[in-house]
């Protein structure tokens, strides 16, 4: 019986007995790492204000999650990194110098209203950071569209505000001023657009930094290419079509590619696991929908930028896409 005593201590768990090492926390942190270049670029161009906004957003998101779970008596999941990521994404979606109370309100909306009231991680319908951003945009339109002019940290230039290139285009489009063309009002320095020397949210300005982060995520297999490529390609296709229809009142496709929040949206917001389709076919359609709506809103909507609206609208289609675009069954 001695032997039995020893062997009865053997662990009895069902197969599989081995697991891949990748955990939710690892996935979340790899997205956070991929956002570092964009965050650094934002800090470089917008200085101390950007650091403050990012810190307030991340910290308040974590605190809201902690507090909510404390109050409801549910398990503390702060360590999985998803609240930190939501906070960081929210911060990157705000203009540098956005009031601190607004940032905290955004965190509350993202973490409590959009994420936890819908059931917490895995069950929210809308991308928390984006929903919060849109809420802030509608509630405080002035503060949300006041972008500091980029002033590289050590340049000694005091921050002044500037309209984003997309806003300039939209203002012209809405003015129906037929004496001017889009080209005449937009000064384009391709190099500046690429590195991020333009007005915009902290994390959206540097296309090159976002591209580096996105490629890192695809290389690490944290995300697949389907959604971002489909998103960016479709935006390009439709902005080309709109440009060809009315070249005077539309910005050219390259301008659309390098402006606004397209790359941040395509690589980091529309690829959110919880709020995007599960199959690759679904992702291609989801990305295409985001791209089409982005181009449409930018050209014909009353807001200069359409990426956030496009993604949130497409978030709603995800259950349907999942239902009707099942994976192809073996032998089927």
């Amino acid at each position: 019986m001695e032997k039995d005593k020893k062997t009865s201590l053997l662990l009895l768990t069902p197969a599989p007995h081995i697991r891949a090492e990748e955990s939710v926390r690892e996935l979340m942190f790899s997205v956070i790492i991929a956002l570092i270049p964009a965050a650094l670029a934002g800090v470089y161009f917008f200085g101390l204000q950007a650091i403050l906004t990012l810190c307030i957003a991340a910290t308040s998101s974590i605190l809201f999650e902690f507090a909510y779970q404390r109050m409801t008596g549910s398990k503390n999941t702060v360590s999985d990194g998803s609240a930190a990521l939501t906070g960081l994404l929210l911060g990157l979606n705000l203009p540098a110098g956005f009031p601190w109370w607004g940032t905290i309100a955004g965190s509350f909306i993202a973490v409590i209203l959009v994420k936890h009231l819908f059931g917490g991680l895995g069950f929210n319908i809308f991308n928390p950071a984006l929903a919060a951003r849109v809420f802030l945009l509608i509630s405080w339109p002035l503060q949300m569209s006041t972008f500091p002019k980029p002033a590289p940290i050590f340049s000694g230039i005091d921050a002044v505000t500037a309209a984003t290139p997309l806003t300039v285009v939209k203002t012209l489009q809405l003015s129906h001023d037929l004496t001017k063309s889009v080209e005449s009002v937009t000064e384009i320095n391709w190099f500046d657009l690429l590195i991020g020397n333009r007005g915009g949210s902290i994390g959206e300005v540097s296309t090159i930094a976002l591209l580096i982060g996105g490629i890192y995520l695809i290389y690490k297999k944290t995300i697949v290419w389907h959604t971002p490529v489909s998103f960016i390609l479709t935006t390009t296709i439709f902005s080309t079509i709109f440009y060809l229809i009315n070249p005077k009142m539309a910005a050219n496709p390259v301008f659309h590619l390098l402006n606004g929040g397209l790359f941040l949206g395509a690589f980091f917001m529309s690829t959110d696991y919880v709020t995007s389709p599960i199959t690759k076919r679904g992702m291609l359609i989801f990305g295409a929908g985001c791209g089409f709506l982005t181009a449409l809103i930018r050209q014909y909507g009353s807001y200069p930028e359409g990426v956030s609206f496009a993604i949130l609208l497409m978030n709603m289609t995800v259950p349907l896409l999942d239902k009707y675009l099942r994976p192809r069954k073996f032998g089927g």
Binding site: L11, A20, V24, K280
Partner: protein, 451 residues
């Protein structure tokens, strides 16, 4: 030329660490006779055998001691010579206690007299061959333990064109088939020829994952004269390459749907160990009383590939590999992807025991602490890894949610019954969700409803 572009693989699948280096180069070892064997009367799919001996009977090695009644069943034989000391329920590696015949060795290891040798075995009539295979108690040695003589009986009107010998051995850790292919290549090819004769099949394949180049080379050399009839195919290294229908897809490029048996599609798949057992039974009249068992894992002192008598206890086999190294945490029959954890070492090796894997407590080899969550799991974050890696193209993520909510009909509509329980979904899940368990629960509930 198209073939160049066809990758020898299937959609989905995973790449767990192979962990085969411990034993893949170690030749099959003959070990001392066990003093006692426990022969469970069920080592096959189908009706349990009835004992043909009584307590106190003297039996010889290879003597038939159990036979089943009904259409789907098999036979069992004594694996040593000695005396029947007990016939009673005994722990069985598949879980429950099973009526077993316990035999004490007389240390003489004498064969039963009635073995019929056939030098000209390829001229035996197919019906007679099937009878020999049935009488030798041969079942699928890959783990499924389906009676082979039934697998070799196509339904009226179905013609079998292809026979595939499964040497994929995609389970991590296990190398029993690998060693058998390296050391018994000619016997395996002869076994394949016998199967092809039974089915009058026109072509035979031997599918082997490319991580076993020595086995591929050996079998190629053995079958080189038979090029028109037998082809050795190197397969991509991917789990579950050895799953029957995934293997068929990789080799014949055709997907046999879940509702169709391979034999209805003109294909029969047999494990290399089964082919070897068939050769032994037909050529020398020897029933299936031993098999190669890989004893391995970081919890075993001297891992190896043992030629084990059926009925030898796990404890005996592990002792023959130097015993435990450190304190064992888990003992698994089979590989770590689909194997079954054991609660006692008294269980016997059975016909489907390809390996015994021992995980030691220190250092732990199974990451139960994934993401700092202990053995617990987190909600599905819809990352899609399970869907991407599912070799059946179904939706494990949904089954998890449906199981948690008792949505049995929905799961049925989403084809949960087509799951082959390979475990790829659970393996990749970053939330550590026990998807295979969820699926097994749903399948059981669907079956209850269907009744």
């Amino acid at each position: 030329m198209i073939d160049i572009f066809h990758r020898m693989t299937f959609r989905g699948g995973i790449h767990p660490p192979e962990e085969k280096d411990r034993t893949k180069g170690i030749p099959i070892q003959t070990i001392p006779l066990p003093e006692k064997v426990v022969i469970p009367l069920s080592q096959h799919t189908g009706a349990i055998c009835e004992p043909l001996v009584k307590v106190g009977d003297i039996v010889k090695k290879g003597q038939k001691i159990g036979e089943g009644k009904g259409s789907i069943t098999s036979t069992v034989h004594s694996s040593i010579s000695g005396k029947v000391v007990d016939i009673s329920p005994h722990p069985h590696p598949l879980g429950s206690d099973i009526l077993s015949i316990i035999i004490e060795s007389d240390k003489k290891d004498e064969w039963v007299d009635s073995l019929t040798e056939n030098e000209d075995y390829l001229s035996i009539e197919p019906a007679k061959l099937k009878e020999i295979i049935k009488d030798a108690g041969i079942v699928g040695l890959g783990g499924a333990q389906f009676p082979t003589h039934i697998k070799l009986s196509p339904p009226e009107g179905d013609r079998v064109e292809y026979v595939i010998i499964n040497g994929a051995e995609c389970e991590p850790y296990i190398t029993s088939d690998h060693r058998l292919m390296v050391e018994r290549a000619s016997e395996i090819v002869e076994g394949l020829k016998i199967i092809m004769r039974v089915l009058s099949a026109k072509k035979g394949f031997i599918g082997i994952e490319k991580n076993k180049p020595d086995a591929i080379a050996k079998l190629k050399a053995q079958s080189s004269k038979l090029k028109a009839h037998i082809e050795v195919v190197g397969l991509n290294v991917k789990y579950p390459q050895g799953a029957e229908k995934q293997l068929i897809k990789s080799i014949l490029k055709k997907e046999v749907p879940p509702s169709v048996f391979p034999i209805e599609a003109g294909v029969v798949v047999n494990n290399v160990g089964t082919a070897y057992a068939i050769y032994n039974a037909v050529r020398y009249g020897r029933p299936l009383i031993e098999r190669v068992v890989t004893v391995t894992g970081n919890g075993v002192k001297d891992p190896g590939n043992l030629l084990a008598r059926i009925g030898a206890s796990f404890e005996f086999l592990i002792q023959n590999c130097g015993g435990f190294s450190g304190e064992p945490e888990k003992v698994i029959m089979g590989g770590p992807m689909m194997g079954i954890a054991q609660y006692t070492l008294k269980v016997p090796a059975i016909k489907g025991t390809s390996g015994i894997v021992v995980f030691s407590k220190n250092p732990p080899s199974s990451p139960f602490n994934k993401g700092g969550q202990g053995g617990l799991y987190q909600p599905c974050i819809r990352c899609g890894r399970c869907v991407d890696n599912c070799p059946m193209g179904i939706s494990p993520n949904l089954y998890g949610l449906q199981a948690e909510r008792g949505m049995i009909d929905e799961a049925y509509n989403w084809d949960v019954m087509d799951c082959i329980e390979c475990g790829a979904c659970s393996y990749v899940c970053p939330s550590n969700r026990p998807l295979v368990q969820f699926i097994k629960y749903l399948k059981a509930e669907v079956k209850k409803k269907q009744k």
